[in-house]
């Protein structure tokens, strides 16, 4: 009878595990302030994630201040505050359950695009459960394994976003190099043609004057 209870609670525990993991990946365009909310179901969950500013060309002119990022707990405390970044990773242990706020602030008015990825991971442990329930160690190990894999996935999302930014920069460089070079040629040709035309005009009139 007890074994059956254990199996059922294990089944319930595992079914609950299905819904316990939360990932959210998106990229936003922010003009002033944009906030994304995520619910953390239990205290002690590890919230990890990263964000990358996709419109990287804003940083070429060195006086752009960057994007500000902050994470606020449901109690109102600011857990993480970054000013003037172009992308970063974050990871923290949630001090309590509730609605967490991930906010971006753009100091300038031009809209910037940001790719964001958040993962909330839960590992069941003995302390959280009531006395009658018992967590099968295999569930704990499976949850740890899943969290490790999710950490790899998180890193991959970061790499993918940075690769996309890098690619945009390189493609823009290529276009600009070719564009400016061809433009330079055309300008050079026009300048030299104008020079010749001007010199011709200079000499075709003044010859007449010199012959007085």
């Amino acid at each position: 009878m007890e074994r059956k209870w254990r199996k059922i609670s294990g089944l319930i525990g595992l079914l609950l595990l299905n819904f316990m993991n939360n990932v959210s990946s998106l990229s936003l365009t922010i003009t002033k302030v944009e906030c994304v909310y995520e619910i953390v179901r239990s205290e002690g969950d590890i919230v990890s994630g990263n964000f990358v500013v996709v419109d990287h060309h804003i940083f070429w002119s060195s006086d752009h201040p960057g994007i500000d990022f902050s994470i606020t707990s449901p109690g109102g405390d600011i857990l993480h505050n970054l000013k003037g970044t172009s992308g970063d990773k974050f990871s923290f242990k949630a001090p309590r359950s509730g609605l967490y706020q991930f906010c971006f602030h753009n100091p300038l008015s031009t809209p910037e695009t940001i790719a964001l990825y958040i993962h909330i991971g839960h590992i069941p442990n003995e302390h959280n459960l009531a006395k009658n329930e018992h967590v099968d160690p295999i569930n704990v190990k499976i949850a740890e394994l899943r969290e490790a894999l999710e950490a790899v996935t998180t890193e991959q999302k970061y790499l993918k976003a940075r690769d996309a930014v890098h690619r945009r920069t390189n493609e823009s460089t290529k276009k600009r190099v070719i564009g400016y070079t061809v433009g330079e040629y055309i300008l050079l040709t026009i300048a030299s043609v104008l020079q010749v035309v001007y010199i011709r005009r200079l000499f075709s009139k003044s010859v007449g004057y010199n012959r007085i």
Binding site: K7, D163, N170, L188, S192
Partner: protein, 214 residues
């Protein structure tokens, strides 16, 4: 058209994920504004989306004004799911092609500006599979189910690594092409400069010789 007629800020929320993606997030929707979420879905993968308005007052029923319209479009522009004046709903489809699928929410104008919180859960790929149905078959299968999910996750990680590797190769080829272009262009500009100077010189020389100044 409707998107373009939105006042002020149009916030485009683009989800850039390849294979397995899950999203349960909340965002605020202002009346008269639009918010769009798009997700990069692979072809032949299942996608499930659920959306509902979060009730600001738990005790009272949802007021009528907290309704919005939804449209889900394929990368081609075909509308896969539309709903007007709803507060909850869901959609599911199998992606016919690779690309960005977009789900747009807009709230109509209201005289005192309402800001409603929309809870949106969009899953595709691995997370879209209905694992709970498979689990109900028996208790022994639960661990196997979990391990199957882990296996699927590992497979998707592997595929993503292939994608990243391909992108890196493409990037390297692009940089190589840029470098060689710059190399040839610098020679070309030197040649152009010298030839323009030469043509100028020759032209002016014949001109002055014709004018009998030289």
């Amino acid at each position: 058209m409707i998107l373009r007629s939105v006042i002020m800020v149009v916030v485009v929320v683009v989800v850039g994920i390849l294979s397995s993606a899950s999203q349960a997030l909340r965002f605020e929707l202002q009346s008269g504004h639009t918010k769009c979420i798009s997700e990069d879905i692979k072809s032949n993968s299942m996608t499930v989306g659920k959306y509902h308005v979060v009730n600001p007052n738990e005790a009272y029923p949802l007021p009528d004004s907290l309704k919005f319209a939804v449209r889900v479009t394929s990368p081609q522009g075909n509308s896969l799911h539309t709903a007007e004046k709803v507060e909850t709903g869901q959609f599911a489809f199998t992606a016919a092609e690779d690309g960005d699928y977009m789900a747009c929410f807009w709230a109509e104008d209201h005289s005192p500006q309402i800001i409603m919180t929309v809870d949106f859960d969009w899953r595709s790929g691995v997370q879209a599979k209905d694992w709970s149905n498979v689990a109900k078959k028996g208790q022994v299968d639960v661990v196997e189910l979990e391990l199957k999910k882990l296996y699927d996750t590992v497979t998707s990680i592997h595929e993503e690594m292939f994608y990243l590797r391909e992108r890196e190769e493409e990037m390297q080829a692009l940089n190589q092409a840029t470098t060689s272009k710059m190399f040839w262009l610098s020679f070309l500009s030197l040649f152009l400069c010298l030839s323009v100077a030469g043509i100028q010189f020759w032209h002016l020389k014949t001109f002055f010789e014709k004018k009998k100044l030289i």
